[in-house]
């Protein structure tokens, strides 16, 4: 215990090590892995992201032009955003907020009807 004394004294005279959380949340780091954003204008609904996703939380339908993401099954690895050929899918640095209900995020783009043979 006597060896702790310098640390204890330092702690008394320095500010608190914690932050008053909900009142003063920390700003995210620039490279933090947060929510995904997909731009329906540039997405070509190729499904590469959905095929690469390790937690299989993306569903893409080319014919309907829909892209759907389940933020509650996502592990925020960023594999999908790296694989996107058009860079329409981006990973932001803002973490998903806590929520009362699980909801998925859907993006509607231009439907691409099957070419008739």
């Amino acid at each position: 215990m006597p060896f702790m004394l310098p640390s204890i004294l330092r702690n008394v005279f320095s500010g608190p090590a914690t932050r008053p959380y909900p009142a003063n949340p920390r700003q995210p780091f620039a490279d933090a892995r947060g929510e995904l954003v997909n731009d329906p204008e540039t997405c070509i609904f190729c499904s590469i992201c959905a095929k690469k996703c390790p937690s299989q939380c993306l569903a893409v339908d080319k014919e309907l032009g829909t892209w759907e993401w389940d933020p509650f099954a996502c592990v925020y690895c960023g594999v999908c955003a790296e694989a996107c050929p058009t860079k329409s899918l981006r990973q932001t640095n803002v973490r998903r907020a806590v929520a009362r209900d699980k909801q998925s995020v859907a993006v509607q783009g231009q439907p691409k009807p099957k070419k008739s043979p």
Binding site: F3, M4, S7, D31, V75, V79, E82
Partner: protein
């Protein structure tokens, strides 16, 4: 004197890990300890049937909630060996940096829990306060605190730029200073010594015979560390395994304490020698055959065995985690101890039961 059998765990106020021990006790003295496992089996190895070999990187990261990066690195090394590719030098250095950062935060976490198990709450808080700096480095460089997800078969997915190198170096100075400030408390304090010296002794012969791994082995005087194999960039870095000869809880704590400082040094060496170049090579093809890889986790040697059959899914994945190797030594450490020392000695092998059961 009549003996009785006392169940210890899987839920225990001191030990956060779900291991069950049947302790045969006479009065307060332990005569025999029989471990029982299987409370948190998740079947991760079986997921190879449902996820392809590249997606498995994200699965094996979740084997351990503390040294996630090292699991993924080991898996990627095994697969790289099978695909006959070599990660670029920069990727190997970055792997060393992140894996040693994981070792630092894992050891600090453990030292804190160890102090907590002895009832030394203020030391616990101090250590975790230091650990928070390392978590911040992880988040600033890799985007996440624990599951950094930087590995990919063939290299790494994230880079560290000049500003981040400066930031890491600055933070490490503080981490090193603050850890050193606690060295007297951790290694020489009367209370700490009273609870750890001569408790849970594992001799060198027993450690070798029972196949102990990691700091548990090195605390018994065996200088064996998988980093000596020179995987990733360890071949270029200067390091000697930390060894203590006492074989008791104190020796194991001392090994981890010194390894924390050693890892700080290794990160510095890797940052200083960080070569320029690519982050990853393309991993193409569907391999066939078998491969194994061994790396040093904070808890000891982890071994990955993979078998592939020429499809995008692996045939078999087998993970041998260090805690699995350290449970048999536990059965010789515990007999003869007072009941109150049991949690501290069980903790001294740094058990990670959810890794063990995967």
């Amino acid at each position: 004197m009549k003996t009785s059998i006392l169940p210890f765990g899987p839920q225990h106020p001191v030990l956060p890990e779900p291991i069950h021990l049947s302790l045969t006790i006479e009065n307060e003295t332990v005569l025999e300890a029989r471990p029982a496992l299987g409370y948190v089996h998740r079947g991760l190895e079986n997921l190879v049937a449902a996820r392809d070999m590249h997606q498995m990187v994200q699965v094996v990261e979740r084997v351990c909630g503390i040294c996630s990066m090292i699991h993924a690195m080991c898996y990627c090394q095994a697969l790289e060996e099978m695909l006959d590719i070599q990660a670029p030098p920069r990727a190997e250095y970055l792997r060393v940096i992140w894996s040693e950062l994981h070792r630092i935060h894992s050891h600090l976490l453990w030292l804190g829990l160890f102090a907590d198990a002895m009832g030394f709450e203020s030391l616990f808080m101090q250590l975790w306060k230091i650990r928070e700096r390392v978590m911040d480095i992880n988040e600033a460089t890799a985007g996440n605190r624990v599951i950094v997800s930087v590995n990919v078969v063939g290299g790494v997915r994230r880079d560290i730029d000049e500003d981040q190198v400066a930031m890491i170096e600055k933070e490490l100075v503080t981490v090193e200073r603050e850890v050193k400030q606690l060295s007297l408390t951790l290694l020489t304090d009367f209370t700490v010594k009273k609870r750890t010296k001569g408790k849970g002794v594992l001799t060198r012969e027993q450690a070798l015979e029972l196949g102990a791994a990691g700091p548990t082995l090195r605390g018994s005087g065996v200088a064996q560390d998988m980093r000596q194999l020179g995987y990733a960039a360890f071949k270029d870095l200067d390091f000697e395994p930390v060894v203590e000869t006492g074989g008791d809880s104190w020796a194991r704590a001392a090994v981890r304490f010194k390894e924390t400082l050693q890892s700080v040094d290794l990160v510095r060496q890797a940052l200083a020698g960080l070569p320029q170049g690519d982050l990853a090579v393309k991993a193409k093809g569907k391999p066939e055959g078998e491969a194994t890889a061994r790396v040093e986790q904070p808890r000891g040697e982890v071994l990955y065995y993979i078998k592939a059959n020429g499809t995008k899914h692996l045939d078999r994945l087998r993970i041998r985690t260090p805690t699995f190797a350290n449970i048999p030594p536990l059965t010789v450490m515990l007999p003869g101890l007072e009941l109150a020392d049991v949690p501290v000695v069980v903790l001294s092998i740094d058990p990670c039961i959810s890794c063990t059961e995967r």
